[in-house]
Symmetry: C2
Subunit: 336 residues, 2 copies
């Protein structure tokens, strides 16, 4: 099967989100894929601004917008009725809809009926799509790099996008492979692997990262952590399906407890290198750690640099904060 793609350019819907920080998805889109973002649509009272032109539905449709992407979290995870009304109007104006909200668009009867009537597509990127094949674990061509973490939410998506951009800047053929809902919205393509039935997870990742030219890199977003009490199975299925020749460990400086899982310590970087290497023996026996990405946002610059220097000394690998210091030296090492 072909994975569905979300048609660009996008009109990013920010609703009347009362807190700018809730518009993280929209901000990620505007930062990583500006060429896919035509404009933003905001309701009165919206606190967010992505720096894109403001357009209403008619203007955006006339300017060629193909999809209204919901670029902000909804209060309580639900879809407010006045947002749903605007989404109906967007379909009537000729736009598809893409959403990473917890509540599926199609569960709203008005949206489902309008989609059926207008023929527009509803992309719920938290739903997995499929059907997917069972994994086969056989070797395939192409180069693959996977982000792995010491916890959830430590910067795996950001690191993958930054490395992908750096490879493209160096004219190295590369594709970003989204494995979570925000990544799928940003890239317009991918699979939210945590929503897949467990038996098909590795097979879905094999399909997401297919055989490619020998010099082509798939840069694969990571999920969870191999030590995570709830999500380790997802992380392992992703590792086996991706068959990466290299991985990058992502970590947040100073985090000692798993986010949202009180009583569980985060993994050390060394522990994740060890587990990733051991668990790759069968499908990627020559796997190597290409470097370390550490989120140092909470530290002053001098301390951040000290943390990175310490990690480099301990592991003998390049360590960087991709937001602060870029990923050039990590990509140097990857390609060396």
């Amino acid at each position: 099967m072909t994975l569905p793609s979300i048609a660009a350019p996008y009109l990013i819907y920010l609703g009347d989100t009362p807190v700018a920080e809730l518009a993280k998805t929209g901000a990620g889109l505007a930062f990583w894929r500006p060429e896919r973002c035509l404009a933003q649509l905001r309701e009165p009272g919206c606190a967010a601004d992505l720096g894109l032109p403001d357009m209403d539905l008619a203007q955006a449709a006339a300017a060629g917008a193909k999809t209204l992407v919901i670029g902000t979290a909804a209060p309580g995870g639900q879809l407010p009725p006045h947002w749903a009304k605007r989404i109906v109007e967007a379909m009537e104006a000729g736009l598809d809809i893409a959403s990473g909200l917890h509540v599926p668009l199609r569960s709203n009867p008005d949206l489902a009926a309008t989609a059926d009537r207008t023929g527009r597509q509803l992309h719920d990127v938290r739903l997995s799509g499929g059907p997917f094949p069972i994994g086969n674990g056989l070797p395939r061509s192409g180069r693959r790099l996977l982000m792995v973490g010491t916890d959830c939410a430590v910067g795996k998506k950001y690191s993958a996008l930054a490395i992908h951009r750096e490879l493209q800047d160096r004219k190295v053929p590369a594709t970003f492979r989204a494995t979570g809902q925000t990544g799928v919205l940003i890239d317009g393509h991918g699979i939210a692997v945590d929503a897949i039935v467990a038996d098909f997870l590795a097979g879905a990742v094999e399909q997401l990262t297919p055989a490619a030219a020998a010099d082509h890199w798939d840069v694969v977003e990571g999920q969870g952590a191999l030590i995570h009490p709830a999500y380790a199975g997802v992380s392992l299925g992703l590792l086996h399906g991706a068959q990466p020749e290299a991985f990058v460990v992502c970590h947040e400086a100073g985090r000692t407890e798993l986010s949202g899982f009180p009583g569980h310590k985060t993994a050390s970087i060394g522990e994740i290198i060890e587990l990733t290497t051991i668990l790759s023996r069968r499908v990627a026996p020559n796997i190597r750690c290409a470097g370390i990405c550490i989120n140092t946002a909470r530290l002053p610059e001098a301390e951040a640099l000290a943390v990175l220097a310490e990690a480099e000394a301990e592991h003998g690998l390049p360590a960087t904060d991709p937001v602060r210091f870029g990923v050039a030296k990590l990509v140097d090492h990857l390609l060396a």
Copy 2:
């Protein structure tokens, strides 16, 4: 939530299965849960015989049967029309229906309509049920033993059922916990964990094996293998969710390649002990291997005994073929 239970006693439906070996589910039911099996129902030409009394639907209903369990694989995985007709009649006679077939009962419009009209339940044990919570990985009371394998289909279910029976014979409080469709049909309770959305797998297993009395054993059926290219994520989620204090490695003598996965070697027993121990560090830091179960059906008895003796010498643990030699010494070691 409470996990659904399949009401006993059962009338086991064998259809007109042309090959007795296809009736493995029915045979497992009659062997492991004879007290739940009232009778069998066979169509003309059926090659299987479970040694149960033959009854038609009226006789079985009058004798108190509560559920018609489909005890055989269907040709090509589909439901033959004359079987579907019999299932409709069973609901009209007052019986629920339970099935582990690939095709869901409810996908057949006649069966769905009859269930809605009669109020009978359709148990499709390959569907996961739910919703399930996210795992929390916190310690809980009770003792838990998990089967782990060097491959799929090496005897994990049989080993778990045999150990559970041995514990019960010794008056040790114990519950068998089914994690696959056949196990769920046999026990009337459980979760087919491979059908669960990956994010919820560990949480579902936590729910399946809840906190219990300090001296109570949950004997948990295993799935897949930690080295399996398609299913390792399922195995790891199951391990983390179960938090076992002990595990039994299940293996088939002489198997060198993963079943159905050409080009992939099976794991060694030692490799599975190592991986299970390493991957339990966080949720079950004191985990120990309680013994080894080896399927030696293809070997003459002298060779089988030699294989078991070799495994005992290599690992310093009791090794048995549960079918041939029982699990007494393994349970001795478990309880020592």
